[in-house]
Symmetry: C2
Subunit: 338 residues, 2 copies
Amino acid sequence: MAVTLKEVAALAGVSRSAVSRTFTKGASVSRGTREKVEQAAQELGYRPNVIASSLSTGRTKMIGLVLDNFRNPIFLQVFDLFTRGLQDRGLRPLLVNLTGETEPENSVQMLQQYSVDGVIVASSTLPPDFAKAFRTAGLPVVHAFARHKPQPEIDIVGIDNRFCGRLAARTLIARGYSSIAFMGGPATATSTRDRLEGFLEVAQATPDITVSHSFSEAYSFRAGRAEMTRLLQGPRAQAYFCGDDVLSIGALSAIASAGLSVPRDIGIIGLNDMEMAGWENINLTTIHQPTAGITTAAVERIQALLDAPQSPPKAQLFDCHIVERGTLRAPPGNDQAG
Amino acid sequence: MAVTLKEVAALAGVSRSAVSRTFTKGASVSRGTREKVEQAAQELGYRPNVIASSLSTGRTKMIGLVLDNFRNPIFLQVFDLFTRGLQDRGLRPLLVNLTGETEPENSVQMLQQYSVDGVIVASSTLPPDFAKAFRTAGLPVVHAFARHKPQPEIDIVGIDNRFCGRLAARTLIARGYSSIAFMGGPATATSTRDRLEGFLEVAQATPDITVSHSFSEAYSFRAGRAEMTRLLQGPRAQAYFCGDDVLSIGALSAIASAGLSVPRDIGIIGLNDMEMAGWENINLTTIHQPTAGITTAAVERIQALLDAPQSPPKAQLFDCHIVERGTLRAPPGNDQAG
DNA sequence: CGAGTCGTTGCAACCGGTTGCAAAAAATCA
DNA sequence: TGATTTTTTGCAACCGGTTGCAACGACTCG
């Protein structure tokens, strides 16, 4: 159906090699030949077939994009950033939806069958070994939103979740909350475990602070609402660090349903700073995760790996900071003028 | 790097054809040969390379998935459904992010270069001709969330937006609102234009009803909030049909910021029934769009087209219905018991 | 036991490109 | 101008598979 190199060669009156060379940059073609070929190609509407050329070159310019979270709206943005970032560099995302799957083997085989040049795993919940399976199979891989490790076995880019946990605890304590809690995502998620660790580290090192924690079933509204509803039935903390924004929003709705008010009765701080957190009817104080920086870095890193597959893995960490909105009370001694 | 057919053939002591045939269902191989080959393949960890085989078979099992909206959370669900639907049928989504792009040519060429077997365009805002470009180029295509047409030139699956407009108008009128308005998405979106038409059709045909309309800049929270803020500065309608849920949520936040209450002061009805609409702190009355049904139908249709590329295009329409929540007042004469 | 069937197998060509190599053509130099 | 170097070009093999075809062997049947 599509026009092939052979037809172009015939029309231009040159060999197939000549046509191939005009479309391979850096190859040696004379001005005259190039013009004849370009003319013929133009006329026939010829475009070289990437798939066919990949057989000899070993490059498909396809990148496997592996995702396992399609519930959290933040991933829509992640999606957008990844697909555009790849496209802008002439790479094509071949998608793998991992929902429910935890064994890497299937994905590895599938992506190998399609000869992708590399793989980006975007998930904060997958176990650290997951991405390693791609590397073991010989595929360049970078794990975005990964758990931090000083000497990683594969390339990772993300945030320091323990730091975020500490930041949250310090912030709550500085606001004068003396009874604080962490309401995490799923107990199995590495991101949640790390955030908890950092949170406890600071809380337990500070005198006169009561700290507790619990987990939700998923990083989702429903899970957050359910967990906060449950928490409100017992003795409650003064402020909660929720493992994620969407979880926070679920918690906020549970609090509202219980007839309580934020930040008057309870303080909430989230993590991610997703777009919704800034919506006026949500107005969530949260820790900003630089999604754009992370995705860009991941794309750049995978591209670098294509050229130098053997370069030693490194970890790239991005800074997080508090975005002040309306779900925490002001620091004590701070006159709430206005 | 990866194991090839040749190596398996060598280890099994058979010809390359024999190996190929054991992995091609329907091909003729004796029991003995098959066993030898399977044994060898197992041992080496061989998987046939789809890319290579596509050269002869003309099938890559890749489907181009073309999207242009990465702001509206409903598309995260659409994404999930499409990628899983395709995967479940052994197809692979190759993603095209169309943000900002309106010319189909680039996407057509790109997807042709990758020899995708078919294309799914998922957008309610693209002009009807967009998807046609793929068909013209010889690629099977189905347009999901497309504008309805009785005799389409390409396969479409979606909802009847004019019907939804009429349904919204009838609902508002039945609730006793006498001054109603449509707050649409972008004026260029076909979905918005059609919803408006249906809305006006009913409103104008009903005596003693005042009707008006306006457009937002995009299907987004910010656009909805901005437009409703603007509307509240003039004489306002009693109830608004917003072109989309996320737009409705923006409108709700503007209304709250203005110190007004829903549904007491203003009624709102949305469209989509995205997950968030059901969140207790949003609780939006809306028209349900059967996203799952649409995506499933689109995937099934594209698969059918792979086998019968010449089958005449058809339009598949899905029914919509009202989901009653808390942003419209009860019908008049209906005692609000409870 | 020989002829006729039928399922199995390998050869070789092909899918749409790329690329090493050697021959041909063009450019450079003496 | 002829010899030498450099550039351009086509041939042919290859990337990893598939498939038409003819040869082969086993099996059936008369």
